[in-house]
Symmetry: C2
């Protein structure tokens, strides 16, 4: 029996490594569990085998003060106990993101979180130099979420081997693949050689490093658990292997406050599973993740039934070529959950319709979604000589939309209370008000967004006798111009360009 006293900040990761048994297959044969108790909470957590005889327990405290803990399991005959002193959180660490105000998000400490995300599917499986560049770009752009895969990706512009694999073994290699033949590749008939009973701890250790680096710059890690773009057989594992894998990532990753679980990218094109499998897996996360991180499932052609109680928010890939973010308010209405538009096509110029929209259209989709009370996601797919497309590999941002997305985020941060919603005001613009406002009363805060339209002016008729300060927002040129203070009937001049908005605030607001 060994006792330790340790210190950790609230929402940070407390970690203890124990030596344990190495005979047999430690990934399968032994377990390690701990209980953490304080006046604020009691949590049971499961640890994991990290190779080299090392068993690891991680814990993220949600309360300040003193925790007692006990560690036991078949990994060792010894039982460990200890004291953990939890000090106040770092100024920049607000804890995990939670659903708040039904359609919106806030960090655990109540700080509003306006999701402005991007997607770089396997940025973390590239070399250190590129990873570093991606992190710099993320910080510069002000994104606060990134979606990426734990498994490597095989797809157009994704034919390179990843830096590591989740399992022990050797891949067949990519030397025979070309952009022309890659779609015909069948992992079942090629020479991949994996031991699905043994994880490759280095793969996960590296991903943790990336999760930590994201946390440092305020970016949530929206981890894609399963996905279909595969040449290694990872999209079609045996169920027991998949369950062991889910356990492993829960036990390794869940103590990181910035983790989200995306059960799948394009769940509906993964082989050999019906919706009940996803329900089982989603509930598995609900039951086993001690911190209740956000859980979602992303579609290709068919939306998953988002009424499922394990789903915390809608993760939407647009279902139509033309109307994308315009679906936001319908999805809110239907599922009564936050709507994250994780895929509304990417700014770029590749040959595919999902990766060839303009910066203007991308920003328009962001504003459409945001003004309807949802959270659109970004991505870039520009043709590149080196094959470094942001959407999969990260690197440098080349487009025009990311700057404007940052501007939108600053506008969202101005929202009084938490979150916007669309109200029916005029038929030909999207009018956003505060989630908690009743528009009938014309309270406080209002943004009218004109999208691709370009009215030369707009008229208002505010009946409550209050003064309103009015600003004209150019969402493309990123300017906010004071128009003046008005009440009753008034007219606001606009420059006759698309992508404009008008913001009203009660003068005493």
């Amino acid at each position: 029996m060994a006792k330790e006293i340790a210190k950790v900040k609230k929402y940070d990761v407390f970690e203890r490594v124990f030596s344990g048994r190495t005979d047999g297959n430690p990934f399968v044969d032994y377990d390690i569990k701990a209980v953490f108790e304080s006046d604020g909470e009691r949590k049971e957590v499961t640890g994991f085998y990290d190779g080299d005889g090392n068993y690891v327990i991680r814990f993220m405290p949600s309360f300040e003060g003193e925790y007692r803990y006990t560690v036991r399991g078949s990994f060792s005959d010894t039982e460990y106990t200890g004291i953990l002193k939890v000090t106040p959180a770092d100024r920049n660490n607000h804890g995990p993101v939670r659903v708040r105000n039904r359609f919106h998000f806030a960090y655990d400490d109540g700080t509003p979180y306006y999701s402005v995300g991007t997607t770089c599917y396997v940025w973390e499986l590239r070399d250190d130099k590129l990873i570093d560049e991606t992190l710099k770009s993320l910080k510069k752009a002000g994104f606060n979420k990134i979606r990426f895969c734990i498994f490597p990706k095989h797809y157009v512009y994704n034919l390179d081997e990843p830096r590591s694999y989740p399992f022990e073994g050797t891949p067949v290699g990519s030397y025979l693949l070309t952009p022309e033949n890659f779609m015909e590749y069948d992992y079942r008939t090629t020479g991949n050689n994996w031991d699905f009973e043994r994880f490759n701890p280095g793969h996960f250790r590296h991903i943790e490093k990336c999760i930590r680096a994201l946390k440092k710059i305020g970016v949530e890690a929206d981890l894609i658990v399963f996905h279909p773009y595969d040449r290694w057989g990872f999209s079609n594992l045996e169920r027991n292997v998949e369950i062991r894998y889910m356990n492993y990532i829960i036990n390794r990753f869940s103590a990181f406050s910035n983790v989200w679980w995306s059960m799948a990218n394009e769940f509906d094109i993964l082989p050999n599973r019906d919706d009940s499998v996803w329900d089982f897996y989603g509930n598995f996360f609900l039951e086993h993740d001690p911190y209740n991180h956000l859980r979602s499932i992303h579609n290709c052609l068919r939306l998953f039934d988002h009424n499922a109680s394990w789903i915390t928010h809608v993760s939407y890939q647009r279902m139509d070529l033309y109307k994308t973010a315009e679906d936001t308010d319908g999805l809110r209405e239907r599922y009564q959950k936050p709507v994250v538009l994780d895929e509304i096509a990417y700014e770029g110029n590749i040959q595919c319709g999902w990766g060839d929209i303009t910066g203007e259209e991308m920003v328009r989709r962001f504003w459409e979604g945001a003004m309807r009370g949802g959270y659109p996601g970004h991505g870039e797919t520009f043709l590149d000589k080196e094959g470094i497309l942001w959407w999969s590999h990260g690197g440098k941002l080349k487009g025009e939309s990311w700057k404007r997305v940052k501007f939108l985020r600053s506008i969202l941060n101005d929202t009084p209370g938490l979150g916007l919603k669309k109200v029916r005001a005029e038929w030909d613009c999207v009018t956003a008000v505060c989630e908690d406002d009743a528009f009938e009363e014309e309270t406080g805060y209002r943004i009218d967004y004109f999208s691709f339209m370009r009215p030369g002016f707009r008229e208002f008729n505010m009946k409550d006798g209050c003064d309103y300060t009015v600003e004209v927002i150019d969402t493309w040129n990123m300017t906010l111009t004071k128009a003046g203070t008005f009440n009753g009937k008034f007219k606001i001049e606009l420059p006759g360009r698309p992508y404009m908005a008008i913001r009203l605030k009660k003068a005493k607001f």
Copy 2:
């Protein structure tokens, strides 16, 4: 009994004026009818009272050769007969436009008619100078259809009095109207003073002059019979007055080959009539118009049931702010009739969502509609110091879309056979082929349109072993660039701008 020998060209208007009774009310009390007979056809036509004791018979022959005719009626005790020698049609007169190939149009002589229309609601009720300017603009732009009203229009940017009125009487005048109060105006409580039993022949004579002028420059006159934008009481006449009016315009206008009947603009917001009234009126035109001109009915919020047999083609005002011309193929499928998109918003910068889209978006909607086998319509609503907005008053074209619409018309004229249709080729572009082609065979002619997307290249895989000549179309910059001749698998480079298309033709095509 008086006999005359006259000459007229096929599809032109033969007209004879007779003196007749003037006691009582000639508009109501007397009739004049004629029968025209040749080897090709036998037509009964009704004439009309033109004021000053003049009764007029008009006839448009559809065959060359000799017609005999007889004129009789209560207008006179005399019966008139005559011989009409019909000579070949003018080189530029192809007769009335008919539905051909189910979803398309051709002139009566078989010449394809690709409708590229515009809307100027009351252009013909302005002064001569402006009318002349409108005609010049129409010619320059190459439009071949214009929608306009027989009754004057009362609406925003439409507060001036028209040059004339359809009935005898005096209007209350517009001196008290402002852009702020005009919507509250109620013709029922103001001083309009009309004799609805007496038409004002000058009003109709002037419109005929305009119809003739349009014919001269190859423009179809899509006449709006009823519409709701009214301060004179013309939108809510007694049924018997409306029937007398329909008779009058049929008898005056139908001999002009370029007439189309639009039963209503926004039928669903005209007061006091349910759909059975429209069916009755539509069938009235079907039965009384001897030339069977095209008949349609235009919607505001709700589409009329276009299965009605009197409707020759769909006249569509878009039902959604975002998807407009994209509805074309669905409407074709549903009604099995040509689809004319008479209102898909207007290029302009006024304060209203129906009149503030960019030239780019207008042209995009044209191509979307045209590549789906439909016929989009144009309009312009630019703020103007003189209040001359093309959409109502004509004048000069100020926008950017009209030039590109002319370019599109030249592309449509290249279509082999008659008409395009959309086929399912790739999910992320609109692929048009000839209406009579089965795409499975990949015959002949094909246009892939990329809309707002901007792929850097596209790949093709033509399996029939034929050579294809490939051209890149820039729909905005109006260029057609040869890419070369290809077969089998090939790749076509694109400039990475929106609004591009690729056209394929079989080399021996």
